[in-house]
Symmetry: D2
Subunit: 256 residues, 4 copies
Amino acid sequence: MAGSKYAYVRNFELPDPLLPGTFLVFRLDGHSFHRFSTEHQFTKPNDVQALMLMDHAARDVMEEYKDIVLAFGESDEYSFLLRKSTSLYNRRESKICSTLTSFFTSCYVFHWKEYFPDSPLLYPPSFDGRIVVYPSSREVRDYFSWRQADTHINNLYNTIFWALVQQGGKTTTDAHAALRGTVSSQKHEMLFKSFGVNYNEIDARFRKGSILVRDIEDVSHKPLKWKKNKAKTKINLLHCDIIKDEFWDARPHLLE
Amino acid sequence: MAGSKYAYVRNFELPDPLLPGTFLVFRLDGHSFHRFSTEHQFTKPNDVQALMLMDHAARDVMEEYKDIVLAFGESDEYSFLLRKSTSLYNRRESKICSTLTSFFTSCYVFHWKEYFPDSPLLYPPSFDGRIVVYPSSREVRDYFSWRQADTHINNLYNTIFWALVQQGGKTTTDAHAALRGTVSSQKHEMLFKSFGVNYNEIDARFRKGSILVRDIEDVSHKPLKWKKNKAKTKINLLHCDIIKDEFWDARPHLLE
Amino acid sequence: MAGSKYAYVRNFELPDPLLPGTFLVFRLDGHSFHRFSTEHQFTKPNDVQALMLMDHAARDVMEEYKDIVLAFGESDEYSFLLRKSTSLYNRRESKICSTLTSFFTSCYVFHWKEYFPDSPLLYPPSFDGRIVVYPSSREVRDYFSWRQADTHINNLYNTIFWALVQQGGKTTTDAHAALRGTVSSQKHEMLFKSFGVNYNEIDARFRKGSILVRDIEDVSHKPLKWKKNKAKTKINLLHCDIIKDEFWDARPHLLE
Amino acid sequence: MAGSKYAYVRNFELPDPLLPGTFLVFRLDGHSFHRFSTEHQFTKPNDVQALMLMDHAARDVMEEYKDIVLAFGESDEYSFLLRKSTSLYNRRESKICSTLTSFFTSCYVFHWKEYFPDSPLLYPPSFDGRIVVYPSSREVRDYFSWRQADTHINNLYNTIFWALVQQGGKTTTDAHAALRGTVSSQKHEMLFKSFGVNYNEIDARFRKGSILVRDIEDVSHKPLKWKKNKAKTKINLLHCDIIKDEFWDARPHLLE
């Protein structure tokens, strides 16, 4: 066959299997989204349309890849949990990572106009992805706690920061200066005293992030077995706490 | 800081640097493009609009990532050569692979309507990517020879196959049967005798694939040094032979 | 500093950390020990002196590396379990694997004359090592079950095989032929009927392999915490079953 | 087969092939040799018997592994160059690294008494090993230049340091202090003025390290082809410069 004298170059493609029997967390982040959000005039501190577009793309990914049982999104990042026993693409790292990043990106661009009908995309956005391997359910829970705690910290800061700028008339430099060294309770107080905002009454989407979870439509009340793939499942969007036990206790199938 | 008790989960993100001093080839492939091309009614054996869209996305990638000096595309795949000394993203494998795949995908969807104004995207397409490390210029040349030889083999087969179906009235099963065991010269002959087509006169884009090369606009006639990044460069689209020496001899900077 | 112009070559030493929070199993095997055992006239099917030398080297390794909590040996191989939280050599794969292999080898040669006072080493023996990462205690138990089941299978076969040769006067070819297709119960019966040997009365060392376990000298009856490293421990050599629960239930610290 | 229910644990043994078409450098270092050399009363600054034992073990490794074409040793470390096309153990990293470390260690202990007939080994010494991948001959040469430059720097320092201590009656603290901040030429001068020693007349073994090179016994004067493995080769021990071109120009087969 013509070309066969060159085919040896395939030997340089080395295997990259991920360890079996472990949870895989795939996380993607917007590439240069600071600029992207400015150019597309995203509302500050949170643009609900932009967040809903992220959720839409994430849901599409979960519809396509059944081994993803949970996803968590905030700002321009999204994390996806693949169940421990997944054999997606034989657990090849580059294949999984690049394909999921690609499909999410594609969905984001594809659905853009549904969320921004009056603001066309000015240039193609992109994301970077990575896979992290976790050996046990403890670490998986702590991973998602880490992301939701991060959401809280960032959102509290951004909420008071943009209030100072947009309503308080401060420059961004002064707003940062005003917040330097403040702890959580002080920020809550500033927000309430200066702007009459009770932080806990802000949209849960902003405070808690977006949780997409593959729930079981349990008609039989029998314990779920993923492997049989017979249980009917439905992807639900929530904005609830995932740090405490309640969320997980109600969904033992996520970490089995 | 809230959340710091969970931050240990970052320790599970292991480093993935690619070997320094080596050429990196990044290749992406369309995911389920057999179905995608059918649903979007791509012309067979080659849809020039679809190929031009691939070229457009690939060019965008090269405009954005200056360390890519060469790209080769055929059908729904594209290969990119990053120069040996690149320190893009500190040569982190997942970061490079996922970002390039994402950006290509984004450009593909973004520009779709320019190439298919009357055929809207029905669903979001995706690609998978991988990086292969080559230690020397010999292997890099053989890699691109391998892809171009593959282009030739596939295109010759597809050209006569679709002629038998579209003009010869054969079923696809019969067309495959008619070609079974035929060598290259026989296919040329069938094409000429039955359909009056001289294969060598077919559009070079189909026979040779697409080459995007970062050429130097050499006003000074001094030898180029990539590192100084001062040379003006321009990305040219070619459909020429890259197996023989001529292409490479004219562009020593590609493999330096 | 002289030499600094060459120091860049260190950049090619890539990191190789093993995933945190996982059990590490280090296994080594004798290199060409078929020839080695023949040249040094090891007794067949089992040379008790050779096995005791292996046990001695393995015990030395465990005395030196406190994070090894269990080891299992049979024939010319030994497996070592490092506890899940070990940070030995920052979990660098090559460092751990090469150092443990080296030290075991060194101890084997160093103690040779104690076990073979009349049979000097004819040439230097060597071993190869590898590390396998296991995410959970289930897999660790199954790993050791796998090795002990292997010991049983091999020893039963070898016992009857060498009886046929040494006492039965068969050639090795005929002995293999006689055993072809026989199941376990048939081998037991052949051994008993032809040679009056009750397999279950054979030395447990041969049937069960060697288990070296770091036991806790529990004076306080408080639960052990490895991390505090305060518990007095002692390495015991056993030849017992490690497939059933009993061994593990008595030693919860091994898999904590 | 008994045991087959556990055999799945083998799936956790992941592949670890090294990139084809690259030079492999295997380096090993003595583990805690500061203590080892003290306890075994090695002569300072250089113990010629200890160095000759290192050379002996390294030569044994080269006799056993024909794909090693060059080795360089200083103090308690040794580096080995495997030719670019080696397929030793299918280029599996752990297998090569652990086996070579093990065999070197074994040879070191095995030959100890030939070099230290009156000083028995007090305990088993060990080494750690690693493999570094180099894509081109330039980096291989720079690697060996780096090690030989290191030998020079260390030996010059140690020579004057121990002269100050042994002949000059200084404490080790004072000797270090006396050398702090001195450049190479000053050390040469101190050595000559205070102790009448011309550094360049010191044994080349100490100044240049040990080079073990697989030379071709070229009777035919035809160019060597490693692959044919027909050329007679001989391992020579040298203490010459390997930074300049001469050594390499005379042995083009090392880097082919």
